[in-house]
Symmetry: C2
Subunit: 273 residues, 2 copies
C-alpha cells in the first residue's frame, strides 16, 4: 500500500485508528473456545465489526508465536482474511524484529512476502544494516521503534548522546538510510510532550502511536503535537477495543469502543480542516 492510499483512506473514514489484535485465549469470550480456531474466530468477528471505523489492524506477533504452529496458522488466516475481504486496510505485523543484513531480509520476506503485511515494526539497536533490508521492499513500510510507551523507554531511549536523546539520534540517523521514505516510527502516546521535538526532526513521517487509553495517553495531546497536514498519525488501541465484553456481544462492544474513538478522531480532523 502506498502512503497516498493510506492518507486517502483516513480522509474517507475520518479515522486514523488502528485496532491491535493482541488475541489471548484467556481473555476472549469462552463460547469461542469450542470453535476450531478460536483466535481466528475472534479476530474475524472483531474485524467484521470494526473495519469501517479503522484504517488498519495490528496483530502483535508475540500473541500468535506463544501458541506455536497453531498460533502461526491463526495469524496466517487473519492476514489472509484481511487481504481478501478488506484490502484497503493497512496491516501491521507488530514483530519488533531486527538482525544483521541477510537475516533481516529473511524476516522481511516472512512478513512482506509470505504473509503479505503492509508493514512491520523493527527495533533499531543494530543500526543501518539491520533496517535497510526491510526498506528494500517497494510499497511496504518499516516502522522503527523510536520512543516507546513503556517505563523502560527511559533506560536508554531518552539518554543523552551529544546533548540529544538516543531516540532523536535514531530518528536523525534513520533519515540517512536508503529508501528512508518508507520509514514510519513508533512513538508512545504516554510521551506526547516529546512530539514537538520529534516533528522538528521528521516533519512528515507517519507515527504509529500506542498507549492511548489503557496506558494513559491522551488522543488530544497526541494530535496537538503530532498531527501533520496529511494527518501523519496511526493511533493504536488493543485492549481498549477488543476486550470490552467477554460475552456473546463482544463484537458489538468492540464496535462501540471503536466508534467512540473514530468519532473523537473525526471531531479533531474537522476542527483542524
Amino acid at each position: 500500500m502506498t502512503t497516498q492510499e493510506l492518507v486517502a483512506q483516513i480522509r474517507t473514514k475520518k479515522s486514523f485508528l488502528v485496532v491491535g489484535l493482541d488475541t489471548d485465549l484467556e481473555k476472549i469470550p469462552s463460547h469461542l473456545l469450542k470453535e476450531e480456531d478460536p483466535i481466528f474466530a475472534f479476530n474475524k468477528a472483531i474485524i467484521d465489526a470494526t473495519h469501517d471505523l479503522c484504517v488498519g489492524y495490528k496483530p502483535n506477533i508475540a500473541f500468535y508465536e506463544a501458541y506455536g504452529i497453531t498460533g502461526w496458522k491463526s495469524l496466517e488466516k487473519t492476514i489472509n482474511y484481511l487481504n481478501e475481504h478488506y484490502p484497503e486496510q493497512f496491516t501491521i505485523a507488530d514483530a519488533k524484529r531486527g538482525d544483521i543484513g541477510n537475516t533481516s531480509t529473511r524476516y522481511a520476506k516472512a512478513f512482506f512476502e509470505s504473509l503479505n503485511f503492509d508493514s512491520v515494526t523493527i527495533a533499531p539497536y543494530m543500526g543501518r544494516d539491520s533496517v535497510e533490508p526491510f526498506l528494500a521492499f517497494e510499497d511496504k513500510h518499516t516502522i522503527v521503534l523510536a520512543l516507546t510507551s513503556n517505563q523502560g523507554a527511559f533506560d536508554f531511549q531518552t539518554q543523552l548522546i551529544d546533548g540529544s536523546e538516543l531516540y532523536k539520534k535514531v530518528l536523525e540517523t534513520s533519515k540517512t538510510y536508503t529508501n528512508s521514505d518508507r520509514l514510519m516510527y513508533v512513538v508512545g502516546a504516554t510521551k506526547a510532550e516529546y512530539l514537538t521535538d520529534i516533528r522538528a526532526i521528521i516533519p512528515d513521517a507517519f507515527l504509529l502511536v500506542p498507549g492511548v487509553g489503557a496506558q494513559g495517553g491522551s488522543l488530544e495531546e497526541v494530535c496537538t503535537y503530532g498531527m501533520t497536514k496529511d494527518v501523519g498519525l496511526l493511533v493504536n488501541s488493543s485492549r481498549g477495543i477488543i476486550y470490552k465484553s467477554q460475552d456473546e456481544d463482544f463484537a458489538e462492544a468492540s464496535r462501540d469502543a471503536a466508534k467512540a474513538m473514530q468519532q473523537a478522531m473525526q471531531r479533531i480532523l474537522e476542527d483542524r480542516s
Copy 2:
C-alpha cells in the same frame, strides 16, 4: 540448564563452540530437498555429526519464520530432537525479541516453555520492563544484545552517553535488573578490542560471540580479552561449519570444520590451565 552444567560441559568437551543452525533451503545439499522436511533432515545430520564437539546449538529464528508454518514445524522438530537426544546441549533461540511487559512474557513462554529452549536473544532498546519478563524463568538464560558484530553497531551502540558508549550503558543498567544473574550478552568477535572494557563491567557473565571466521573475528583475540576463570565464552559459528560442502558428505565436512574449531579451543584452554 544451570550455568554450572554449561561450564561442566565445556570442561568435559574442551570446547565452547556453538553451532548456528541458520538453515537455508537454497544452501543445503540438493539431495535433501526430496526429504519430507529438508530443513530438519539437514539439522539432524549436522547435529548428529557435531554434537560431541560443541556445547550448544543456535537456530536463528528468522530462517525458520521465513518458511511460515513449515519452518516453524522444522524448528519444533529440531529443538525436540536436541532435547530428546542431546539434553546436555545448551540451546539458544536466536530471536532478538523484545516488547513491553506482558508481551515479552508471551515471547518468553513461546521459547522457554512451548519450545523448551535454554536461552533466547533479546534486543535491549525498550529497557527494563522488556527484559525482566524473560529473567523470571528459572534455569533459563536471557542473552541481551550488547555490541553486535555488524557495521550498523556503530550507528547507536558505540555512541557516547555521558562519556560512555551505549553498549556499556546497556551492560551497566542490565546488572540492576531483577534476576540479572540469568543474563548473558552478545558481543561480536569483530570487536574483540572492546572486550577488556566489557569484562571490567561484567567480569563473569557468559558472552555469546558471533563473527569468528566468516565475519573476520579472531578466536585468539576473543579468548585473550574475554575469557574468565569459568571460560565465560560461547563462540558461535554458523556458515563456517554447516555449509562446508553441498554434497552427500556435508555432515562429515561440518564435523571436520567443528573439529578444527574444537581443537583450537582445546589448545587455548590447555594453554591457560
